[in-house]
């Protein structure tokens, strides 16, 4: 059984500009009163600390939006406040997502001093034409120096790339990926571009202005990526995440292993066991409404619902099969009181095993490389016949 960890997610919802592909909860504002925002984030930490305090915190993750627009003092205050409610694991991982522009790079050292020990940079592309197309505010040269600077200040880190961009050839991507690997440390996230609803790209795609690769091209790009990364010593440990052994993002592993995490800030989600029942929590999404609610009530929780055992089982499989390690029987038992064989339909599982999409071992269930590449279909198949309603705590 892998340690699932316990994490804290902090959402900073602001960006300097909205990227055309992004459907995250991010907003552009002329000015913000950062002191108010700092007080509000701290208030929510106090709220959840009161509900589920005393545990050992294995990770903190500042996500967004663009958390590198936060003043280092705000980051420091949040980390300090978390420490009042939860014991910090000696190896605590504290990640901050940052944009690789020169403006933001100026704050890197400050974040390090504030307690951040892992930086995740939104590089996205290593050529100016594509960076522009993706609506990024930095150029390739800035990104390259930001990565170098981050590696000087932080022992751990990662950066993101987006591939299968309109007009990108397989050869273009392969050489760009090799260049990225040469720059990378222990971790790299590579995402295939997908068109998300309610984005600028969605409109352009609908109007036929974006030529997206067809399924076979997308599959070839995915397979090439897997091969190149693996031979470079950065194998996938999750669908889109690659690391040298030990370099995995512990915070994200908590999500995929279906551990507990607290979510604070606008639109943040959590999975948190309170009084023995695992709950799905969600904070108010709109930034100003969130701020007002926190100032009035001390928190902006919109929902905090106990999760049905059947839904817990589904969520655990859905997240866990994204990992190369898969889902262990031990975790399944801990979460639902039942072993994996009791949770899924035997005939469907057998078909998937026979097709080479999943593997069942004495320890657990995992998706193969072929299965991970088609995981949405595999999950639909596996969970359709699942007798999950029988699962009990």
């Amino acid at each position: 059984m892998n340690e699932r960890g316990f994490g804290l997610y902090v959402h900073w919802p602001f960006c300097r500009a909205k990227c055309p592909y992004c459907d995250f909860n991010s907003h552009v504002r002329e000015t913000i009163d950062e002191a108010r925002w700092r007080r509000a984030l701290i208030a929510e930490i106090d709220h959840y600390g009161g509900l589920a305090g005393g545990r050992t915190l294995a990770s903190i993750f500042f996500g967004g939006g663009t958390p590198s627009l936060m003043a280092p003092a705000t980051v420091a205050a949040v980390i300090e406040r978390a420490g009042r409610h939860w014991r910090f694991d000696p190896d605590i991982e504290i990640t901050l997502e940052a944009n690789p522009s020169s403006v933001e790079a100026a704050n890197f050292e400050g974040y390090r001093t504030a307690g951040v020990n892992r930086l995740s940079l939104g590089v996205q592309a290593l050529n100016d034409r594509d960076l522009k197309m993706l609506g990024r505010l930095h150029d390739a040269a800035e990104a390259i120096s930001a990565v170098a600077l981050a590696r000087r200040h932080f022992e751990r880190g990662s950066f993101d790339l987006i591939y299968a961009r309109p007009g990108q050839t397989a050869a273009d991507w392969e050489s760009e990926l090799r260049q990225a690997i040469a720059m990378a440390g222990e971790h790299l996230s590579v995402y295939q571009l997908t068109i998300e609803p309610n984005t600028v790209f969605a409109g352009a795609y609908r109007r036929g202005e974006l030529a997206m690769p067809d399924e076979d091209t997308a599959a070839n790009l995915f397979e090439t990526t897997q091969d190149v990364m693996e031979s470079a010593g950065l194998p996938a440990y999750e669908i889109s995440n690659h690391a040298r052994p030990g370099g995995e993002c512990r915070h994200n592993l908590t999500y995929w292993r279906y551990g507990d995490y607290v979510g604070v800030g606008p639109g943040a989600h959590g999975r948190l066991t309170i009084d023995g029942a695992k709950r799905a929590t969600r904070q108010h999404r709109a930034p100003e409404a969130w701020l007002q609610a926190v100032e009035l009530e001390g928190h902006a929780t919109r929902t905090s619902d106990p999760i049905e055992p059947s839904d817990r089982a589904a969520e655990m499989l859905m997240m866990g099969l994204r990992l190369v390690e898969g889902v262990s029987d031990a975790n399944a038992k801990a979460e639902t009181g039942r072993g994996l064989d009791e949770l899924v339909d035997g005939a469907r599982l057998a078909r998937l095993v026979e097709g080479g999409f999943v593997e069942r071992s004495a320890q657990g269930l995992r998706a193969t490389a072929a299965g991970r590449q088609r995981l949405d279909a595999v999950l639909a198949e596996l969970l359709a016949g699942a007798n999950l309603s029988m699962a009990r705590n």
Binding site: Y191, Y255, M319, R374
Partner: protein
């Protein structure tokens, strides 16, 4: 009791949109049948669907009180009849209740095929026919050309035609005068035993079954014990009356009169159109001529999209049948589509109407399988099987030969489109019987196999003629055909809902088209899928849907769990509507879409 010489009974014959209902509205208004407040467009079309599509499904009558220019008062009975080929028998019975007809022709359009069949029926019923040219207020009206066409195409003297605009009311009074002057009065003997024609019947929630009738001889009133000759069943009349179009109770109905009666009858199915109504105490020796029970000619399967709605579908079909005895249904089970019903209809329009009413009035989402005709399968042991469902076709070794129904079709088309129409008819195995020209239009008479007509013929006809061709048909005879059963297999398993009986010549192309279509419709899945078309055991076409290569959400973190799980829940719901073929599941929607293969 109105003197026979003061009664005129007439029907209105017209093509869709040529103004039949509008003219009826004007006649009712002129005779004061309804106040302005009660008047609305197409008052006689009571069903929503009739009003919307401009077609009449049920016969309606209106008694008009008209004071003619000669100073005498007349009782005019207007019979609004169904105007479509599917209901030609119903039309013939309505016509049999009248002595004359108004032939309404759109002066901007001219004669259409549907009009022809009904005019000929009226002529067969010895009707005096008054030609009415409608829409003469429109700039495009060409009354002289249309008159000539009526003479050339129908062979009817149109010199006395009344030119009107039903819309503006222009010269509508002349129509009333013509009815009085030119139509013969009905004949009948008031002292003879009751003899009446059952014109139509429908179910009323309060009154039970209402019978529309035309009295030939004798009288009928409340208390009369009537007998329906086809079944011998006797009923005591509760009430007689007529429509203005509002129902009005009358003391009695006598010879020459048209009206309604109720007699505590429970089922419309017991009141067959064309039946003879007589007095139980003094029955007629012989029934009126022309009665025949209605026989469905087109069959299809109706399945609820949501299997949970099966019970509701059964109830709805039963309710519809209360009012429409010509439509039949029996339970059917399909491996691909689940539980449903095999339904029989008088024709394609009838099928569409029933389907649409189920959808609208009963709020049911339905899957309709490809319409099929009734085949006569001659077995080697000498038995003859009437086949309503291609899935029931016996093993080919037991079949000696198969007969299929042929129709006689009349097509009217502007000469410019003649070429493609001829080609369409030839492609559909048509045999030309006649080709004549009237002005710029051609009239074609073809013999065609009905199974080629139920398969998208009408849509094709409209599309190759840009909507200008009009088409009508009547059943002709059964004829032996080189027919085969085309089976569609998915991963070597037959999809019953897609099997059909086709002529040997088209089987291959039809099979190939279905395979290609299914390949487009069935989404890639984890496993590859073989789609095949076969005749008997011989595979004639094959398509392979290759296995899916990539299908995975790129980003899924702590904030995405709830949304992603709900998506999976939705997919799980969707899987309930899938059917397992080997190791793949095919969405029902793919079969539904494939069934619409003729639509484009």
């Amino acid at each position: 009791m109105t003197d026979l010489s003061h009664i005129r009974n007439f029907a209105i014959i017209a093509h869709i949109d040529h103004g039949k209902s509008t003219l009826a509205d004007r006649l009712i208004q002129l005779c004061g049948g309804l106040s302005a407040r009660e008047m609305r467009d197409q008052v006689l079309d009571t069903m929503e669907i009739e009003r919307e599509r401009g077609i009449t499904i049920k016969a309606q009558t209106v008694r008009l009180a008209y004071r003619a220019k000669n100073g005498r008062s007349y009782e005019l009975n207007l019979m609004d009849t169904p105007g479509h080929v599917d209901f030609s028998y119903e039309v013939s019975r309505s016509l049999a209740a009248c002595e004359g007809s108004l032939l309404v022709v759109d002066a901007t359009q001219g004669v259409e095929a549907q009009t022809l069949a009904n005019v000929y029926q009226a002529i067969d019923n010895n009707h005096e026919i008054i030609v009415v040219l409608n829409k003469i207020d429109l700039p495009a009206a060409e009354p002289e050309r249309v008159k000539q066409q009526i003479q050339d195409v129908i062979g009817l003297d149109a010199s006395g035609a009344v030119a009107i605009s039903a819309k503006t009311g222009l010269h509508v009074d002349q129509v009333l005068e013509a009815l009085v002057e030119r139509l013969p009065a009905p004949k009948g003997d008031g002292n003879a035993p009751l003899k009446a024609l059952l014109v139509d019947s429908w179910y009323d929630a309060y009154l039970g079954v209402v019978i529309l009738l035309r009295v030939k001889d004798g009288h009928v009133k409340a208390g009369t014990k009537i007998r329906l000759m086809s079944t011998g069943a006797a009923h005591e009349v509760d009430r007689v009356g007529f429509f203005t179009p509002k129902p009005e109770t009358a003391a009695e109905l006598g010879p020459g009169q048209v009206g309604f009666l109720t007699a505590g009858i429970k089922e419309v199915a017991d009141c067959k159109i064309g039946d003879t109504i007589t007095e139980d105490r003094r029955p007629m020796a012989e029934a009126l001529p022309g009665f025949k029970p209605s026989v469905p000619v087109v069959f299809c399967g109706l399945f609820p999209v949501d299997a949970a709605e099966y019970g509701q579908l059964r109830e709805s079909l039963a309710k519809l049948r209360l009012n429409d005895a010509s439509f039949q249904f029996e339970p059917e089970t399909s491996a691909a589509l689940g539980f449903g019903f095999r339904c029989g209809f008088l024709g394609l329009l009838h099928l569409e109407i029933v389907q649409e009413r189920l959808r609208r009035e009963f709020n049911l989402e339905l899957i309709t399988t490809a319409p099929s005709v009734v085949y006569r399968v001659h077995l080697t042991n000498g038995d003859i099987l009437e086949l309503h469902n291609p899935a029931d076709l016996p093993d080919p070794v037991r079949i000696d030969h198969i007969e299929e129904p042929w129709i006689k079709a009349t097509i009217l088309v502007p000469s410019d489109y003649l070429g493609p129409i001829l080609k369409l008819c030839e492609d559909r195995r048509g045999v030309q019987l006649d080709r004549t020209y009237a002005g710029s239009r051609a009239m074609l008479t073809y013999r065609l196999p009905l199974n080629e007509v139920v398969f998208d013929f009408h849509d094709r006809l409209k599309s190759v003629s840009r909507g200008y061709a009009s088409f009508d048909y009547q059943l002709d005879s059964y004829q032996e055909g080189q027919l085969v059963k085309l089976t569609i297999l998915v991963n070597a398993e037959a999809v019953d809902a897609l099997s059909c009986i086709v002529h040997g010549h088209v089987a291959e192309s039809r099979g190939r088209a279905l395979c290609v279509r299914l390949k487009e419709l069935i989404p890639r899945q984890l496993f590859k899928i073989a789609v095949q078309a076969a005749i008997g055991g011989r595979v004639i076409a094959r398509e392979t849907i290759s296995a899916m290569r990539k299908d995975v959400t790129a980003k899924c973190y702590g904030g995405d769990v709830s949304r992603k799980r709900k998506l999976l829940d939705k997919q799980k719901e969707g899987k309930k509507r899938m059917r397992q073929y080997g190791n793949v599941e095919i969405p029902q929607s793919a079969f539904i879409a494939a069934l619409k293969i003729g639509d484009d």
